[in-house]
């Protein structure tokens, strides 16, 4: 494979690298100029342009499978789709930050770190080898640890960063341990070779390795019982960072889980299905019940994201093409619901200071009708009420679960979604049924409005495109089978 082909297949990654590196230079040299705001603007536009360009470059790539770098890296229709989703989410998150958000994060480093994290996510998605997987994962995680602690004058933010880092390191350790066991028993780190070694009698060590590997990954998608860091980090991190956490990294991590289970370990699907079922049930229950008592909206959304991962895992546990399609659809809706929710949360300020208590939403419908209506749509969608987008994600994952004979899993899923509906409704209740105590600031910035309206349009009109999307997802996931 010659250089040109390499460059073209990994074009989005190279674009991000180039933009990131030039950002370093811009940030370093432009810093000295008198107008800091002007320099920030340049950095912002550069990073946004980078995502946009990388996204566009995806469209030029073929959906045939291309393997690069001695089998470390592969692209196909599925990975392209997931990359597109990640880039879109990253664009949303960065676009939201550019809304003059203070909290000490509006610095060039922030954008640079996010770029590097997104690059890591793209590598994760394309990883076709345990070593590439680990490299991508760490390239994603390290910048995220830093930006979680970016608000240096806040104890909570530092704590969030530290907690995230320590638990993340622990999960990396487990993942590495699992990977080394897998390597030891399978004799290779390449997914394809691992898959090939899984014929006949599977050594126990390999299964144990797979379990550790999956546990490490469960940390990254914050599936219960590996979810402990999520609420604290969501709460402690500066809100734009939380938005990023809520929208993007889970898409990449979920893709990784899919790659590992559906491709590398497809031969022992009975074993990993058990683990995924356990993770899924635990996440749905923890997510649904944990959110009820929360007072902080970021913590609540953290629990809600745990529950969402539980639902997605239910589709994954089915181990069928249908399940994979379900997960793809679920993650698609997840990105837009997250973007919509955070575009609203980031608009809530009182006297210029951001608010994040759930009770601050009281009476929002009379002071900010658009925000309240938007939040209501997002909440109903997250609760899975049709005809909004969230319902279709649930329909597909539970359909896959039922078709795979996992009816009890689907029943647990729908029951927890009723419990979940309670706390989504609580927010709607506050916004619509109660009066405001202290008014919030007027207005909604241009950036937030764009993200909000885009995600609302997708959420509300999702049913129009569901046939199309299901078809695309279906073709894309065929690579696994």
């Amino acid at each position: 494979m010659d250089l040109a082909q390499t460059f073209s297949a990994a074009l989005p990654e190279f674009i991000l690298i180039a933009v990131a590196l030039s950002l370093v230079l811009v940030a370093a040299f432009d810093r000295s100029s008198e107008s800091e705001a002007g320099s920030m603007k340049l950095v912002r536009s550069l990073s946004l342009g980078g995502y946009g360009l990388a996204f566009l470059s995806l469209l030029t790539l073929s959906s045939e499978q291309v393997v690069l770098f001695n089998g470390l890296f592969a692209t196909d229709g599925f990975s392209l789709y997931m990359k597109g989703l990640v880039l879109l989410g990253a664009f949303f998150a960065s676009w939201l930050v550019s809304d003059g958000w203070g909290e000490g994060i509006d610095r060039p480093e922030f954008h640079l770190l996010v770029l590097m994290a997104v690059l890591g996510m793209l590598l994760m998605i394309s990883a076709h080898d345990l070593i590439a997987l680990y490299m991508g994962l760490e390239l994603q995680s390290l910048p995220l640890y830093v930006i979680a602690a970016m608000r240096t004058n806040s104890l909570k933010s530092s704590e969030a960063g530290l907690k995230y880092f320590l638990l993340g390191a622990l999960s990396s350790g487990m993942l590495l341990y699992g990977a080394s066991l897998v390597y030891g028993f399978a004799g290779s780190t390449a997914y394809a070779d691992i898959a090939a070694s899984l014929s006949g009698d599977v050594p126990v060590g390999l299964t144990v390795g797979m379990v550790f590997l999956l546990s490490g990954l469960a940390f990254k998608i914050s599936a219960a019982p590996f979810h402990m860091w999520t609420p604290d980090v969501y709460e402690g991190a500066p809100t734009p960072v939380t938005a990023l956490f809520a929208i993007v990294p889970k898409v990449a991590a979920m893709t990784l889980v899919m790659n590992v289970t559906y491709f590398a370990f497809s031969g022992i699907s009975v074993q990993w299905a058990q683990i995924l079922i356990a993770l899924s049930v635990a996440s749905m229950i923890v997510g649904a019940t944990g959110a009820i008592m929360q007072q902080n909206i970021k913590r609540m959304l953290a629990y809600s994201s745990i529950a969402h991962m539980g639902y997605a895992l239910a589709g994954l546990a089915a181990g069928t093409a249908e399940g994979a399609t379900g997960v793809v659809i679920y993650m698609t809706t997840y990105v837009f619901m997250g973007a919509g929710a955070f575009s609203i949360i980031m608009s809530l300020r009182r006297d210029g200071a951001p608010v994040e208590r759930i009770s601050d939403l009281s009476g929002l419908s009379s002071s900010h009708p658009l925000l309240a209506a938007g939040m209501m749509v997002v909440m109903f969608s997250m609760a899975g009420i049709p005809p909004l987008a969230g319902f279709f994600g649930k329909w597909y994952v539970f359909l896959a679960a039922v078709n795979a004979g996992l009816v009890p899993l689907a029943i647990i899923g729908v029951l927890t979604s009723v419990v979940g509906a309670f706390y989504y409704l609580r927010i709607i209740k506050l916004m619509y049924f109660e009066d405001a105590d202290a008014p919030l600031d007027e207005g909604l910035s241009r950036q937030n409005r764009l993200v909000l309206l885009t995600s609302l349009a997708v959420i509300i009109l999702f049913f129009l495109g569901i046939g199309q999307l299901a078809g695309t997802a279906d073709t894309n996931v065929q690579a696994f089978f």
Partner: protein, 498 residues
């Protein structure tokens, strides 16, 4: 009536376009309020006129579905955008499109804040209701069925009474819990049959063991909606807290979704299980009829009394449906339509006096007839229709149900008939305490007479209740073929019974 243009889709989604118009309304708050009301009234009125085309274009002698529209929605998966009506769904669509403009008129003065949002909620609700009755695809049916929750939750929660939050949550979570169990069953059915098309599913033979579970799942959903005893407790709360128009629609249309679901899904798709569970449903229904009637007797709140009476009347509906014979099902259908008109009118009766005195306590009234004779007349007519006086629509439905029940299991008919007596007791007692007697309280004497707008709401309701009571074949002729179709799908079980 040619079907070259998608009449059903237009009727379904026309109210939604009204929402777009409502969003465009600009101006001062008072202007917005007035214009919103007008837009909503015009849009829903026009929707009703359009739905009349359904009535006149409908050929009652044809079996199967008419005005069908089918477009691929999720290609290759057996899921399509499929609308169509038969003699069972058509009356419900007309009932919905008929009651919505009346409800909007009924809220004309009682809704004073967030009028625009209120009208949006009502129009969205109308689309969901009509779409649900017109859907011939299970997934679409579910979308609309669940979608109803969103506007209704807001109507109760934003414009309701003092305990509205509790009532709205209870309503939402009860119905959601029922629906999600139905959803799981839908997934299983889709897995089995490979399609979500309702006519295709009705032909599909589900294994009896599977039917058992599927029936229970659907039962969970429809029983909550109907509502059957003992899952009826959300209904009195929701009714008491909802604004007048909300109660009208809730009793008028939303309660019918459960009965409609039983006829559309449970009977034709799980005939063996329906047969198996029929005794259980009879027991629950008889308890509903007798117990809730007794509870209604003890109420001191007018709305709560009528809400409990709705549960009792719906008990007749479930008895009729699970009699699984022509009289029973037709009677249940008739009873549902009749109850839709009568209970909407009764809730409006409460709303009329509530708007004037701002209380629903029965003891606060007495001698209303002195101040509002015309109101007393309408109220009496509707009260008698609710009791099932011959000559009103209430009589036809109840009688057919009892005949159907007698043919299936005589003890059910005997026990259910006691509900008629109890019904007469609480309704007549309510009427006596509110309307008759001497008006001793000074505020009663100063009650304003019925306004022209209120008169305009009562008249059409009264006309239809009387019409269906005197000339029931208007409705029965439409339903006849469709009911036979359903019985044909039940077929084998039916013969096994006899």
């Amino acid at each position: 009536m040619s079907t070259t243009w998608p009449l059903l889709s237009v009727i379904t989604f026309l109210p939604l376009t009204g929402v777009l118009f409502l969003m465009l309304v600009r101006g001062s708050e008072a202007n917005v309020a007035t214009n919103s009301k007008l837009v909503a009234l015009w849009v829903s009125g026009f929707t009703f006129l359009l739905s009349l085309f359904l009535y006149f274009g409908f050929d009652p002698n044809l079996s199967g579905y008419q005005f069908e529209e089918q477009v691929d929605w999720i290609p290759g998966a057996g899921i399509s955008y499929h609308l169509g009506i038969d003699g069972i769904s058509m009356p419900f669509i007309l009932l919905s499109t008929f009651l919505v403009p009346l409800s909007i008129l009924a809220s004309w003065q009682s809704i004073t804040h967030r009028v625009r949002d209120y009208m949006i909620a009502f129009l969205v609700l109308e689309t969901m209701m009509v779409g649900m009755f017109a859907s011939l695809d299970m997934l679409m049916f579910y979308l609309f069925f669940e979608g109803v929750l969103i506007p209704m939750f807001l109507i109760v929660g934003v414009w309701g009474g003092a305990e509205r939050v509790y009532a709205a949550f209870k309503f939402f979570l009860y119905t959601l819990l029922g629906s999600v169990l139905m959803l799981v069953c839908m997934l299983v059915m889709y897995h089995q049959a490979g399609t979500t098309d309702i006519p295709a599913l009705a032909e599909f033979d589900f294994a009896p063991a599977l039917q058992f579970w599927l029936f229970l799942g659907f039962f969970a959903s429809f029983a909550v909606k109907v509502p059957m005893w003992p899952v009826h407790t959300w209904l009195p709360d929701a009714h008491v807290q909802a604004p007048t128009a909300g109660s009208m629609i809730l009793a008028g249309v939303l309660l019918k979704m459960g009965g409609y679901g039983f006829i559309r899904f449970s009977l034709p798709m799980f005939p063996e299980a329906s047969d198996l569970f029929a005794p259980m449903i009879f027991v629950l229904s008889v308890i509903a009829v007798i117990y809730t009637s007794l509870v209604a007797l003890a109420q001191s709140d007018m709305k709560k009394l009528i809400a409990y009476s709705s549960v009792a009347h719906m008990g007749f509906v479930t008895i009729g449906i699970f009699s699984m014979n022509e009289q029973g099902i037709a009677g249940a259908m008739f009873q549902m339509i009749s109850h839709g008109l009568v209970s909407a009118a009764l809730f409006f009766c409460v709303g009329v006096v509530y708007d004037r005195l701002h209380t629903r306590e029965i003891s606060a009234y007495g001698g209303v007839v002195d101040a509002m004779p015309r109101y007393a007349t309408f109220f009496m007519f509707m009260m008698l229709a609710s009791v099932g006086l011959p000559g009103t629509s209430g009589f036809v439905g109840e009688m057919l149900v009892l005949v159907g029940a007698w043919n299936r299991a005589d003890w059910v008919a005997i026990l259910a008939a006691t509900g008629l007596i109890l019904g007469a007791c609480y309704m007549l007692w309510l009427y006596r305490r509110v309307v008759f007697g001497r008006a001793e309280k000074p505020e009663i004497l100063e009650l304003e007479a019925l306004s022209g707008r209120e008169f305009m709401i009562f008249v059409p309701l009264t006309v239809f209740v009387l019409w269906f009571g005197v000339y029931p074949s208007t409705l029965l002729d439409i339903m006849e073929v469709a009911v036979r179709d359903v019985l044909g799908q039940i077929g084998p079980v039916q013969t096994a019974l006899r």
